[in-house]
């Protein structure tokens, strides 16, 4: 089984976080107060932010290693990511949003796989709807389908439920649970909601402002 090993210091102006943990299959929840550096850690794993120091290794792939100056491009890391505010392409249909993320040259096959994925997340009927008119819950489902479209090894979830109402939150939680189990991938879930921990965590990494303090089963 693939292991993700993170041991980095990530810095932005005025703030720095030291994160050290490993994650395997299942859902690892990064839990802690807002502003403790959870999302920064995720950005470093996604490759959108260069760590100041340290290493991020996923199986045989070195995502980042500052001692030898390695920084793999986001595009090459085979990740899926869901943001708090979906970050969808509002000018394209939900189907296009998912199909674009499928790493296949053939447009027809990509659309077929995207259709299957949207059906899997329960959006079969909204496939060609106007993306910007979808509800918050529907947008997050599209974002989840899109994140899985590239057949990622790691699924990064950055507060994906926090902008949803209670009902959509529950159904999104169980959707994430079953998709992660189905695919046997590593999922990292950033949250400051204790309910997410109870409902989803296979492993927990606890954050204090600026650092990880413990990783527990």
């Amino acid at each position: 089984m693939t292991t993700l090993a993170v041991d980095v210091r990530v810095a932005v102006p005025g703030f720095e976080v030291a994160a050290s943990f490993t994650a395997q299959g299942g859902i690892t929840v990064l839990s802690g107060p807002s502003g403790s550096g959870k999302s920064l850690t995720l950005a470093a794993i996604a490759g959108t932010l260069r760590p100041a120091r340290g290493t991020i290794v996923c199986g045989d792939n070195i995502f980042a290693d500052t001692t030898v100056g390695v920084h793999m491009r986001s595009q090459d890391r085979r990740l899926g990511m869901v943001y708090q505010h979906a970050a969808l392409l509002d000018h394209r249909s939900p189907l296009d949003n998912v199909a674009l993320a499928i790493r296949q040259a053939n447009v027809a096959t990509a659309k077929e796989s995207a259709t299957a994925l949207l059906e899997r997340v329960g959006l079969g009927r909204a496939m060609s709807a106007k993306t910007r008119l979808l509800s918050g819950g529907e947008r997050q489902r599209v974002a989840l389908a899109r994140a899985l479209a590239g057949e990622p090894r790691i699924l990064l979830l950055d507060e994906p439920f926090s902008s949803l109402d209670a009902t959509s939150r529950d159904s999104m939680r169980s959707l994430v649970r079953s998709l992660v189990d189905e695919r046997g991938i590593i999922a990292l879930l950033v949250t400051h909601d204790a309910q997410d921990v109870t409902a989803l965590a296979d492993h927990v990494v606890v954050y204090e402002p600026g650092r990880t303090v413990s990783a527990s089963e």
């Binding site: 490759g47 969808l88 674009l100 910007r132 994140a147």
Partner: protein, 219 residues
């Protein structure tokens, strides 16, 4: 107005100039928006000059840069067999340079305003930089770019000073509509001056309505 040649020439010149300014302007705006360095400000200032310089001064620079005795002018003549200045191609160059800053400024602002999280999301899901630009950034910036292109077209169509310096005022050859209006006033041909001015005025109004109502409106 008996002779419609200046109008057709003006339209042809400004359409070609707008296309050229859009291609070059959007590409440059993209680079300026994405790769910020010390030089960005200098490059942007240089390409904004056409807005603030007197058009005749801009025309003088172009004439010096592209005239038959200049390196660029010689090069053009070697390739195409005829000089660039005092031709319709010269008019296109003058109009392109005049339109360029409007495209660059609007496109740069629009591209910078695109939510970087959406671009990041596209990168994380595996899209190459080129596809991020084509599928995400440029479509999301399209309205702002469109507004700049429309203003650039209006500027290209209305250019007088730079065109007269670089392309001259040869009736039936390089005389664009704004130049023809000036000519008509000089020679006391009120009817031609009036018609030409009304036509240019009408086109400008249409463009401005387009800019405010279609392109600049928030989605």
């Amino acid at each position: 107005m008996s002779d419609w040649f200046p109008l057709w020439l003006s339209l042809r010149v400004s359409v070609i100039a707008t296309l050229l300014a859009s291609l070059f302007g959007v590409a440059l705006a993209y680079l300026l928006a994405k790769w910020q360095s010390r030089f960005t400000a200098i490059v942007e200032a240089i390409f904004t000059l056409p807005i603030v310089l007197p058009p005749t001064v801009l025309g003088y620079y172009l004439l010096t840069l592209l005239g038959t005795r200049s390196t660029l002018g010689q090069g053009w003549e070697n390739i195409f067999g005829s000089p660039l200045v005092f031709t319709q191609s010269g008019a296109v160059v003058a109009a392109t340079v005049s339109a360029l800053p409007f495209v660059i400024r609007a496109a740069r602002a629009a591209i910078s305003n695109v939510d970087s999280r959406v671009e990041e999301a596209a990168r994380v899901m595996g899209l190459s930089e080129w596809r991020v630009a084509r599928v995400v950034t440029l479509p999301l910036a399209a309205r702002g770019i469109g507004a700049g292109v429309a203003l650039g077209f209006a500027r290209a169509l209305g250019d007088f000073g730079a065109t007269v310096m670089v392309a001259g005022n040869i009736p039936g050859q390089t005389q664009t509509l704004p130049v023809a209006v000036y000519d008509a006033v000089q020679s006391g041909d009120d009817a031609t001056a009036r018609t030409g001015s009304l036509v240019l005025g009408a086109i400008a109004v249409v463009v401005l309505i387009l800019v405010t109502q279609v392109f600049a409106r928030r989605r």
